[in-house]
Symmetry: C2
Subunit: 639 residues, 2 copies
Amino acid sequence: MKRKIYIENMPLEKATALFEQRLEEADCYHIKAEEITVSNSLGRITASPVYARRSSPHYISSAMDGIAVKASSTAGATEVNPVTLKADDFFEVDTGDYIPAQFDAVIMIEEVNFINETAQIIKAAVPWQHIRSVGEDIVTYDMLIPSFTRIGPYEVASLITAGVNTLNAIKKPIVGIIPTGTELVDRGSEEMAPGLIVESNSHMLKALCEEWGAVALRHEIVIDDREQIRRAIEEMTPQADIIIVCSGSSAGREDYTASLLEEMGELIVHGLAVRPGKPAILGLIEQKPFIGVPGYPVSADLIFGLFAKPLIYKMQGLLPPPMPELECNAARKMPSPMGVDDFINVSIVKIAERYHCFPLVKGAGITTSLVKSDGVLCIKRGMEGLQAGDNCIVTLRQPLNVIDESIITIGSHDLSIDILADILQKRYGLRLISINAGSMGGIFSLRRKETHFAGLHLLDYETGGYNVSYVQKYLSGDNWLLINLVKRDQGLIIQKNNPLNISSLKDLKNPQIRYINRQNGSGTRILLDYLLEKEDIRPQEINGYNREEYTHLAVAASIKNGASDTGLGIYSSARALNLDFIPITREQYDLCILPQLFSTVNLERLYTAILSDEFKDRIMAIGGYNLDSTGQIITSNNI
Amino acid sequence: MKRKIYIENMPLEKATALFEQRLEEADCYHIKAEEITVSNSLGRITASPVYARRSSPHYISSAMDGIAVKASSTAGATEVNPVTLKADDFFEVDTGDYIPAQFDAVIMIEEVNFINETAQIIKAAVPWQHIRSVGEDIVTYDMLIPSFTRIGPYEVASLITAGVNTLNAIKKPIVGIIPTGTELVDRGSEEMAPGLIVESNSHMLKALCEEWGAVALRHEIVIDDREQIRRAIEEMTPQADIIIVCSGSSAGREDYTASLLEEMGELIVHGLAVRPGKPAILGLIEQKPFIGVPGYPVSADLIFGLFAKPLIYKMQGLLPPPMPELECNAARKMPSPMGVDDFINVSIVKIAERYHCFPLVKGAGITTSLVKSDGVLCIKRGMEGLQAGDNCIVTLRQPLNVIDESIITIGSHDLSIDILADILQKRYGLRLISINAGSMGGIFSLRRKETHFAGLHLLDYETGGYNVSYVQKYLSGDNWLLINLVKRDQGLIIQKNNPLNISSLKDLKNPQIRYINRQNGSGTRILLDYLLEKEDIRPQEINGYNREEYTHLAVAASIKNGASDTGLGIYSSARALNLDFIPITREQYDLCILPQLFSTVNLERLYTAILSDEFKDRIMAIGGYNLDSTGQIITSNNI
């Protein structure tokens, strides 16, 4: 059984320096140029300076509305002794009009008396008065645009005006991307077989290339076969300026790439002390940069950003645009191994004039952590990680104005929260960041004042009511407001047509029935435990009591995909995935809001969204909801 | 003679509010959507929320390299009493591999003893240990992306992973652009007739549309004929979401547009209290926004940016990205009429930790002022303008890092300055802003410490030497360094083959010979005055002594285009425009540098560029230069 070959753990700075040095030595940063037409030049970078080929204006012209005259013909004119010019001796001009060669001055229209066909002048003109120069805007041979400069809309206009038809532009670097992996397919179906993965990394890298000014050539997927990978590299190398091999997402697959590179070119680095992205490969082939990108999307993005991005910019004569940084408060503990540069994608929200960053779900396979990322935090090698409350510097991926126009909800999840988020984004450009932490997670986040509001559905075993006793207990010292968002049906989500004949909670005692549970502290878990106690079922009697998911939809998806048979959850999740549902209870899902953390305008936007017909219509279309008391204040605390 | 119809002078805020209100009432902001494929979605905006169609992973998988087992089959295993699993009872898995339905736990590879075909287990597995959930990344029906959100590279990857093939995107607004003007041509030649202008505004606006996410349809050029303009508007209106009519650059042409709009639709505003851009037209036609854009490029850009930009973004469900602002010191007096919002394009440079802004050459026809613009300063209606030294707020058009990586030279111009600029940009990404103010202008800018260095060629009438006595006199209290850049030939630039038989300065007394002079304070003007005195020629004897240009190239261009017959200038300008040249003297062109205003690294870059072979080779290729003492320190002042 062939296992991993030796992988180093090279510090990032050392690997970067080594790679850059070898690329420099191999003349990889050499700029390639091509002649392009001005009509195709928008967004391109000049390879050499562009000189004007024509002056603008290319003729002398009038700076006024008036008449063009020969100054000498007006000599001596005064109010008392006006000079009268015959029709041939003047020429009416608008501002910008050409001044024919026989004239050398312009008299303003206001200072001319037109009498029949003649013009009466009461003041002598000084030669060249009110006449605009040739080349007032552009002079032939002016350097219009220096080398290594982006052609924007104004440059396009200026080039056209200056008579430039073609220019020497930097050729866009061509990035050859080879996706490898036997488990990969190009296009999945909703019923694709387990174990298959739809190849997405190459498309992500291709899109990044486009954003950075390069062109990507994607090779078709290559299975994990050394010879086939070799042939793909041989085929791609002559066509591209940078060669990228994407590993499959399973471990150990990059071994072929590294050993092939050793054979075919030069392996410079294999293995970095970074997380994620350790198995990265850096090298040279046919004097071209070669990067082996790990298979997990988050690793692929990190390695591509660290090594391909500066390279793509440099090959265009540019530096990557600076990434703004922001000082944040770490809202969560972020432990980190000492030996690596640890890159963590975070969400950022501004609460009470401070920016709080929340680490996104970890795992190099989580593409949604890239989608949701507002920035990246790097815990440097030799550092132990962050404690909650620590200051840290985040490199932003979102513009600061998007972050500033965001609110956050941490707590229990419901599909209505997504709909609220959509309405707020659509109507106000206000982003709602939503973190699923269960109802108790929401309570604690409210207590720490790190969330604007929280969705809660906490059953009070004693009163049978929801939420009120919890917020009164845990948030007694704070201002808060509890309003109802929805009432919703909870029950057992089951396979379509109920093949296992589940009829009630009692059936969970059957060890053949694989249950999927919600995490501790979630309202649904609290509800389950209450129901189990009432029915006298012990947790250890249930197969899967310890298997935890973090959302209703995740529970439904597990059942949908046959990974489990049933779980307690809301009707809307069953409905969304076309599963069956055994209703058990109707519960209250409220929002606990901390109004003092909101701006007046955003609080009003939230209320307006909740009370909108659009919100109600969209919720009712899902089913399993009751909106009788939506938006009603249940109770509040006003300190 | 038909002159202007009545144009208002409506304050900008009032016009904006009125236009927006009418657009709102006419439902112009209505969002249009279309179905697009994910492969064409990069950069597009979602019109409705996108939900996942497949979970990812869509199967339970291993979180470890190890073996998949049925947990119950490992019950009771200890180091003392290991359990041995037969080949059928376990399944080797890598991280991420599918776990077949008969198994429900994974044991790490390190904890397994492989003996022949069997696996020895020394610790019982807990059900579901080391098994990854279905949907760890994405769960079917998760809201992946809300409405009105841009699809970037990560969204593309996430959509592919979530089994989404098509999505509902906002249709790019279509902007119909109609260029009008009898003087306009589509493509000029180097010998085009005087009075013709190459149409460039529509191309600039088209490029701006692309940058803002819209698609532009350009109509062919329409001459100034009311019926033809009417037909063009009729043709464009059904095809476009926004209709733009660009006036020709001469005054009064927008009258047709306004009166046609009154007839065909609704004229909302005609005439704004802004500079430039007063004749702008705002209206509605067939319930679509209509903007009449003035003909001068700087006016066109301003009006398009003020009215079309927010509209284009709003039609995509977006707000225009915020434009950063910067507090600057007005380096020059900027007078402004009280009655208008006065928009001034400026260059910005950072000197000694302060940003200084310099107004670019005014005139709404100057496209280069758009190319060179680092930002726009607005002197509000009711304000009188800025004094030199006043603080002001500039809305940036260039990223701050480009401004920060800039140095400036104010003084006499030489082609070698352009080449220096090109080398600095290419090698270091360092921008050299160059402002032509003549040698004495350079001296005064050095004195005010508003320039890093200045090009000087100031002849001392008494000593016959250059520059030294001037800098000693005017900069006695400062640290400075005078180094030679080039020596160059000055003489009379004349038409090719000298049709007027000019042979020396004496010929300038001939009134048939139209001279073109340089501005007061320029080294060449000082040289001319010195030479005239020596030759005993009085300025008033010269036809054109009062006609002034600001650069050598402008003088040459005036001669090239027949607007004048001769002027004093440098050989390289004559050569660049393929003119003849009568050499008169060789002069010294030095740089006076203020080292304390530079960062160490930038000063070194400047020296390195001056001393580079590339600089010398490029200068020598022009001709008329001597580089014997290039880079040599002539003298310095060290306080």
